[in-house]
């Protein structure tokens, strides 16, 4: 579904991505792991068109490198940024409406379904997004992206700064998303939910993929964890 080949990206003269290669197949949950500053977020931003790409990004067999962000979104790619970017003055319902593309028709997800999955959001449907807790904002941000009916969703550090119970909820939501045929590229620093829900994992270091394997193989690869993941 998504195939990234020899991807390079720069911030001014800094060479951030130095030939990234990976792929995500249909219906898969794939995690992109690594310490801070190795280029994980830059990778998804580059795929989404926020950073100018050099290299090939194939989505559903078609080249998307060089397209504008909104065009990439229309091809079926969704992106949940680490910063969440909830619109603080808009209500929860309005934030969700914003996720609808084109003429605003629903895809496989509706606002009612989102509210059924997250009663917290339903209770606060008409409350400004800015007053939600961190966990609720994360849920809202993911639901907002799902409203656009993506076929692959890239989620950047969804568990950052959240309580263990909320992290567990997010893990369940990601599995629910995948069960509906949506592929997931999960960008994480911690191994917690990545090991539980991923079918494959990539580890990044110095702007490149340095390891590819399954959760089981990574658990056994002590040297990889020690060199590239553990703080």
């Amino acid at each position: 579904m998504l195939k990234v080949t020899d991807l390079h990206a720069y911030y001014d003269k800094s060479h951030i991505l130095q030939g990234v290669n990976f792929h995500v197949d249909a219906g898969e949950i794939v995690s992109l792991l690594g310490r801070n500053g190795v280029g994980r977020s830059t990778t998804v931003k580059t795929i989404m068109g926020e950073v100018e790409p050099r290299g090939s990004i194939l989505f559903k067999g078609k080249e998307i490198a060089g397209l504008k962000s909104f065009e990439i979104a229309h091809r079926g790619l969704g992106y949940v940024p680490e910063s969440r970017d909830i619109f603080p003055t808009l209500t929860v319902r309005q934030n969700l409406t914003l996720g609808l593309k084109g003429k605003g028709e629903n895809g496989r997800w509706t606002i009612d379904e989102m509210f059924n999955m997250f009663p917290n959001l339903a209770e606060r449907a008409d409350v400004p997004g800015g007053v939600l807790s961190g966990g609720e904002q994360q849920m809202l941000c993911m639901c907002r992206t799902l409203m656009g009916d993506p076929e692959l969703i890239m989620i950047d550090e969804p568990t950052e700064g959240l309580a263990p119970k909320v992290v567990e909820q997010i893990g369940l939501l990601l599995q629910e998303i995948a069960s509906r045929g949506v592929s997931i590229l999960l960008v994480e620093q911690k191994l917690s939910i990545a090991l539980k829900i991923s079918s494959r994992l990539y580890v990044m270091g110095h702007g490149k993929i340095v390891y590819e394997g399954t959760p089981q193989s990574l658990l056994g690869a002590h040297d990889v964890r020690a060199e590239w993941l553990e703080v």
């Binding site: 989404m48 926020e50 504008k68 962000s69 909104f70 979104a73 229309h74 992106y79 940024p81 970017d85 619109f87 603080p88 003055t89 808009l90 309005q94 409406t97 914003l98 996720g99 609808l100 593309k101 084109g102 605003g104 907002r144 992206t145 656009g148």
Partner: protein, 316 residues
């Protein structure tokens, strides 16, 4: 006394709502794009001239419909092919661009329509009194101006706060990249907002042209006062623009209607000057004479008390 007050209020409302028609577009463009469009009043002038020409062929209503559309298309094209490129060079370049554009439009108007005042009249079907009070008539056309301005405010407020388009516009102001990631074409939204903003200025031109006369200096007459209104209301705030427009309109209208001189005002505080005093010329002015300065005085006062304007929340 009551007669003066009532008609000063009505005239203030008309002036204020006319200012709002112009200020609404300007504040909309600023809130969305951060662009202070110095050429905004020039689009108002274009609206009046296009309507004048069109009204000779297709009548007043045709002009009211088509002229703002033409002005909006010109505005959208300027955003797409000019302002968007200049935007990358920062706000100073944008200001210089819109400043130059104002001169360009004024010269173009003089080139195509000449320097003389155009005979753009209120349509005959508005030649009746809407009502009479204290023996004075309030013309139907002034009532029409009030109705159009109220309609614009209601439509804009509904679209911006209740519709999906408005939600996308609001979100694009604070997080344009996030909105783009959700599949919305933000540059297209910006272009449409600029087009709608300039079209609103065009509507104001069509409506005001017959009352305030259609001549090449009409943009200069209203240009600075519209900026005063937008800053008093708070840059980017639509309700703020409405309140400030009405404030400025009423303030000027009351000042013109009040037959009070500075000596009378100063006498209330026990201050008086004789005719040999060096500041005698200043203190013998009357209120109608200082009326044009009052909006600027109000601007200074508001900025001292609330630097973001009455309803603005932008710090920059």
């Amino acid at each position: 006394m009551a007669e003066v007050f009532v008609f000063a209020t009505l005239n203030g409302l008309v002036t204020g709502l006319l200012l709002f028609m112009l200020a609404s577009g300007l504040t909309l463009i600023f809130s969305m794009m951060g662009v202070l469009n110095f050429a905004h009043a020039s689009f108002y002038m274009l609206g009046a001239y296009f309507a004048y020409t069109l009204s000779t062929y297709i009548g007043f209503w045709g002009g009211l419909l088509i002229a703002p559309l033409i002005v909006g298309c010109i505005g959208a094209s300027i955003e797409r092919y000019g302002l968007r490129r200049v935007h990358q060079s920062g706000h100073v370049a944008e200001l210089v661009f819109t400043f130059g554009l104002a001169f360009l439009i004024e010269e173009a108007v003089q080139l195509f329509w000449g320097r003389d005042t155009k005979n753009y009249q209120t349509p005959e079907f508005f030649d009746f009194a809407l009502f009479s009070l204290f023996g004075q008539e309030f013309s139907a056309y002034r009532g029409f101006m009030i109705a159009i301005a109220c309609l614009i405010f209601a439509a804009l407020y509904f679209i911006l706060t209740r519709s999906r388009v408005g939600i996308i516009i609001q979100a694009s102001i604070s997080h344009p990249q996030t909105v783009a990631n959700l599949g919305h074409n933000v540059p297209l939204i910006f272009m449409c907002v600029f087009g709608v903003g300039t079209a609103l200025a065009g509507v104001a031109g069509v409506i005001a042209g017959p009352v305030l006369t259609t001549f090449p200096g009409m943009a200069t007459v209203l240009g600075s006062i519209v900026f005063v209104v937008v800053v008093i209301g708070g840059l980017g705030s639509l309700p703020g623009a409405l309140i400030a427009s009405l404030l400025v309109g009423l303030l000027q209208s009351y000042a013109i209607a009040a037959d009070v001189g500075m000596p009378e005002l100063l006498n209330l505080f026990g201050v008086s000057f004789d005719s040999s005093h060096p500041l005698d010329d200043l203190w013998t002015l009357n209120l109608p004479q200082v009326a044009p300065v009052l909006p600027y005085l109000l601007l200074v006062l508001v900025l001292i008390i609330k630097p973001t304007g009455l309803m603005g929340n932008r710090e920059q």
